[in-house]
Assembly symmetry: C2
Homo-oligomer: 136 residues x 2
């Protein structure tokens, strides 16, 4: 039996979209980029290589599923994927759609400026697109 408690900072900075096999799929409360976050529901894991081999394979599968869906719904020039965890140590994987000329392009999005909240409508539209793209 695995227990799981979401980190407080992740809870504050992101909204839950759906549950995948291993991960919670969440979106960052920042409208500057289409920005999803996968959180494997395993306690006390900070590095991908600390997951079991099965969980590592599951994470790869879910990561690529979500990255591909995000590319399709946004038409992004590039998908950025990162597992950093320098601030929030609970393992989480960022998946971000990038466009030429977007905020801080071609630099990274982490630690850049202040989050710009979504409007209720824009958040709802983005959430629905993600759900539709993953509803296979």
């Amino acid at each position: 039996m695995h227990t799981f408690t979401l980190d407080d900072r992740l809870r504050r900075d992101t909204d839950r979209i759906m549950q995948l096999g291993l991960c919670q799929l969440r979106m960052m409360r920042d409208s500057r980029w289409p920005w999803l976050v996968l959180v494997p529901q395993r306690d006390a894991i900070t590095e991908v290589f600390d997951l079991t081999p099965l969980d590592q394979a599951m994470l790869t599968f879910e990561q690529n599923l979500v990255a591909s869906a995000l590319k399709n719904i946004t038409g992004a020039a590039k998908i950025n994927i990162g597992a950093l965890g320098n601030i929030v140590s609970q393992l989480h994987v960022h998946i971000i759609a990038r466009f030429e000329g977007d905020t801080n392009w071609p630099g990274p999005i982490w630690g850049h400026g202040e989050a710009v909240p979504y409007s209720v409508e824009a958040k709802d539209i983005f959430t629905r697109k993600v759900l539709e793209a993953l509803d296979t």
Copy 2:
């Protein structure tokens, strides 16, 4: 038969350490952080999800092998893993050892300041440690 040509910028910015099953393992010519780069030897691939499922699994395996080795040889506080590709589109995965108080901690390393070259000795020591850690 897969052909593969390394991107010019990757060739200029990194040195080859060894060949794994799928990837070339290379190190960034920047001594500010212990910084490795995996380059899957597949042509015309820019996103992880464009790899075949087998190659995706191989990449995950090699990524976690290298990340775990890098953690062991450096004693890093955190390993950062990222596939961005906003500048160099050829698929490559960064694996970086981070320490509290290192350059730009806890921010990301990409796009930060100017590279600081290794001395010949320091590069040789780091390369040998990586090779020993992966020689299983």
